[in-house]
Symmetry: C2
Subunit: 277 residues, 2 copies
């Protein structure tokens, strides 16, 4: 269970990623086995997604959970039961082969890490592709906003909060947030920019008063790595894709699959196309 805590969007400690011109090229390299590394930065401009795979028996409730909680669980696409394709995200996309590393879970326990799902795919499985913060972070960095965890090459710090998600069926639990320290003018600009990207967590859920959302100590994140918050900075909190992971783990499904932290699904969607204005 503790393993679930690791950031889905983890930054690889030591990877110098190969750069591909498109999401499709990156996926083909993954599929061929030519890319087995984390995916951060390998296809600049293209949306990367979190993966959650659940049996059909749980999928309907999880679908509703995503609908009810679009900030932590911005659903980009969901497959038909048993169908490994997600054509909305890439014509040739096969969820069984197109992620460099998967994690296999039984009753909430990590039981395996695998390079593809060919042998374990089942006819009742539904794949959920969920937006991740890479897209909005790219937009922030392109605007000249410096993100400390990226500059330090560490994982973004995350906390379980006192804010609750809206439950659906068995799925419930606290909202998990990521934090980026920003100077006030950058915080205002970051709110503007990320408001344009509802499909990848959207605007922050909180700013400046961590104790108001149940965060007692900014130097001790529940997941990821601590970053300094300087005296002239405000901590800015976004809903985090670890929320659905954490919520799924709590249900202890008989079988589920996720991407391995940092090994994301690279799609054909352009980050810029997620901007609503």
């Amino acid at each position: 269970m503790q393993e679930r805590g690791r950031e889905m969007n983890a930054v690889a400690e030591n990877a110098v990623p190969r750069i591909f011109d498109s999401g499709a090229e990156a996926r083909r390299a993954v599929r061929r086995g030519d890319h087995r590394a984390p995916t951060a930065g390998i296809a600049p401009g293209f949306v990367q997604a979190n993966l959650a795979v659940l049996p059909k028996a749980l999928a309907d409730d999880f679908f509703r959970f995503c609908q009810f909680n679009p900030k932590p669980c911005p659903l980009l696409a969901a497959s038909e039961p048993g169908d490994p394709r997600l054509p909305l995200l890439g014509e040739d996309l096969d969820i069984r082969t197109d992620i460099p590393r998967y994690r296999v879970w039984r009753k909430g326990e990590l039981v395996d890490e695998v390079d593809d799902l060919m042998r374990i795919w089942r006819d009742d499985l539904v794949a959920f592709a969920i937006g991740c913060s890479f897209s909005f972070e790219e937009a922030l960095v392109e605007d000249g906003i410096r993100l400390r965890h990226i500059e330090q090459g560490t994982n973004v710090p995350m906390w379980r909060t006192s804010m609750q998600t809206r439950p659906a069926g068995p799925f419930h639990g606290p909202l998990v947030v990521s934090m980026r320290p920003l100077r006030p003018a950058d915080a205002i600009r970051a709110i503007q920019i990320t408001s344009r990207f509802p499909a990848v967590h959207g605007a922050p859920v909180h700013i400046g008063k961590p104790e108001s959302i149940g965060i007692a100590d900014l130097s001790r994140p529940d997941y990821g790595d601590a970053v300094e918050v300087k005296p002239d900075e405000l901590p800015v909190f976004w809903a985090c894709g670890v929320t659905p992971q954490s919520v799924i783990a709590a249900v202890r499904p008989e079988f589920s699959i996720t991407h391995a932290p940092g090994y994301m699904l690279v799609t054909d969607l352009k980050n810029s196309r997620l901007s609503v204005f």
Copy 2:
């Protein structure tokens, strides 16, 4: 000079305003002498504007100053020299008669308050109509955000900051900001809403760290009335229309005219039409 410090958008202490269905109706009542009170709330949904009138010799530089400093000086319209009309803001609008109370200044000193400008209008005067915070405050309140100074019936608190405007000709000076205390989620929402209204000061210029912008004491505003900032709130700062007033006063023009605080120009523009998305 001290008088300049009073909030242009002052809330009348004791007015129960008559409500008009349009800006044009409100202006006709003002023109007839039937409305001599502050204008806050008299034509809901319609844009109200700050007035600054300068001789042509200074007007070009002031025009550039507005262009350079759109957040404190969002120019809605400017007249031709000597022309009292502002047709962009109302077909029949006459700047000499359509504001309930004017202030007349000589060399930066307040010399008179008058009900109309018919006797003192000159062929070389240029009228500037500058967006005011009424419009974005209306949008915030309609969204359910509570603004303490409105609930208290006091003037919004304002400070001269350590942030400088971009000079143009003789016009220069510090940015003046207004402050509204908001809980973090409301602050994020207020940033989103006011970002849509660049013509009326737009997004905040600062949030949460008053000392970073030269504000030493939130309980002692330079202008307006103090409001409490509760422990779970952040002070949110917007560029303020007192900035151009203060900048003009510093130049000590041989002759200038402004509206009296709280006695604004009511226009035919709908607040909603100022929204850029």
